[in-house]
């Protein structure tokens, strides 16, 4: 299946890679993608043909496959409301964490600025809207607008933070950090509970696209470990 010896083992060849991405963009579930991928593998093994020869263009074939299977229940998994709430929790947590650390460094309370709250609200609305209109990713001509809007989120959040620096909320520095930790923990648990819609091999029931063992736990633990190390380093800096 994999022609290039220098290509990492967990990557598919170009045809299969394009096929899987095209199916994902057409809202096909991981189990149906795994089934379609296994059919391609089986047919090519039996016929000795390359996927391009037997199935043609991967995107066109993905379109045919997507028309025959029920769409994945992505709306429930990634609804605009859920995405917005997760974004709000993360943005508020980051603001609370930064202002808590700043408060500790000054020896005073944590101060959340008007700008940081506006930035959190802006980011929340933007993420919810991007998820709401994620279907435009299917359309190559309108996809650019979606990505353009994605890139605009950052300046749209940075600008209010810099423009409105007056204090909106004042809480104890430790309380602010505790709120941040609780919000991040809740987000992390929520993301883990959702579970990834992996491409499942129909025979083994395992991930069809083998990933390195460290990748899944690495992704899951990256945020909490980085957060914990950052807070510890800040607290251990001489002067506190």
């Amino acid at each position: 299946m994999i022609k290039n010896p220098f290509r990492p083992r967990f990557l598919l060849d170009r045809w299969r890679d394009n096929f899987v991405v095209a199916l994902r963009l057409r809202n096909v579930s991981g189990s149906h993608i795994g089934d379609a991928l296994a059919l391609v593998d089986a047919h090519c093994a039996d016929s000795g043909e390359e996927p391009e020869e037997a199935f043609g263009d991967p995107v066109a074939y993905a379109t045919h496959v997507a028309e025959q299977v029920p769409p994945a229940d992505l709306a429930a998994r990634v609804s605009p409301l859920r995405a917005g709430l997760l974004a709000l929790a993360v943005l508020l947590a980051v603001s609370a964490l930064l202002s808590g650390v700043a408060g500790l460094a000054r020896g005073g309370p944590a101060e959340l600025s008007v700008g940081s709250l506006v930035a959190a609200a802006t980011g929340t609305a933007a993420i919810a809207l991007l998820v709401r209109f994620a279907s435009v990713l299917h359309d190559p001509r309108r996809r650019i607008v979606w990505f353009g809007a994605l890139w605009l989120i950052l300046p749209a959040m940075v600008w209010p933070s810099m423009a409105w620096t007056s204090t909106a909320v004042e809480v104890g520095a430790w309380l602010s950090m505790a709120i941040a930790v609780v919000l991040l923990a809740a987000t992390w648990v929520s993301l883990r509970a959702g579970g990834p819609d992996i491409v499942v091999d129909p025979l083994t029931g395992r991930d069809s696209i083998p990933t390195p063992r460290w990748l899944a736990p690495g992704v899951h633990w990256f945020l909490p470990v980085t957060l914990a190390v950052t807070v510890l380093l800040i607290l251990l800096v001489p002067g506190h």
Binding site: A45, E49, A54
Partner: protein, 119 residues
């Protein structure tokens, strides 16, 4: 109809119309997998049916509960998905088989090769 030295090349829209019925017909002989179905169609003189045409059709038949499918482990290679007619698939095939036979009779009556010869 284009004719080669060995096999005729059927117009694509003819094949589109009859392929589903032929696949049901192949499956009436027992459970089998995609590549074997393609081979049977080819041996019957229908030409090469590509995987990109065959599998979406089989998936549609599965979705309509005319066919059920199970994955079986392969011998040293990837597994194979076996397709089998369901009871409603057999009923559907019987109905379409009779209709197709009638369709062929009526079509032939319109064509010079099928008209009665006047003596």
């Amino acid at each position: 109809m284009a004719v080669t030295a060995t096999e005729p090349i059927w117009p694509a829209d003819w094949l589109r119309g009859v392929l589903e019925l032929c696949v049901l017909g192949v499956l009436a002989d027992g459970p089998t997998y995609g590549y074997a179905i393609a081979q049977r169609l080819s041996e019957a003189g229908l030409g090469v049916v590509k995987g990109g045409t065959l599998y979406p059709l089989l998936t549609r038949l599965e979705g309509e509960a005319l066919v059920e499918a199970t994955w079986r482990a392969g011998d040293g290679g990837p597994g194979r998905k076996f397709f089998e007619l369901t009871a409603s698939g057999r009923t559907e095939l019987s109905g379409r088989d009779i209709l197709w036979a009638e369709f062929v009779i009526r079509t032939r009556r319109l064509l010079p090769s099928g008209r009665p010869v006047d003596y």
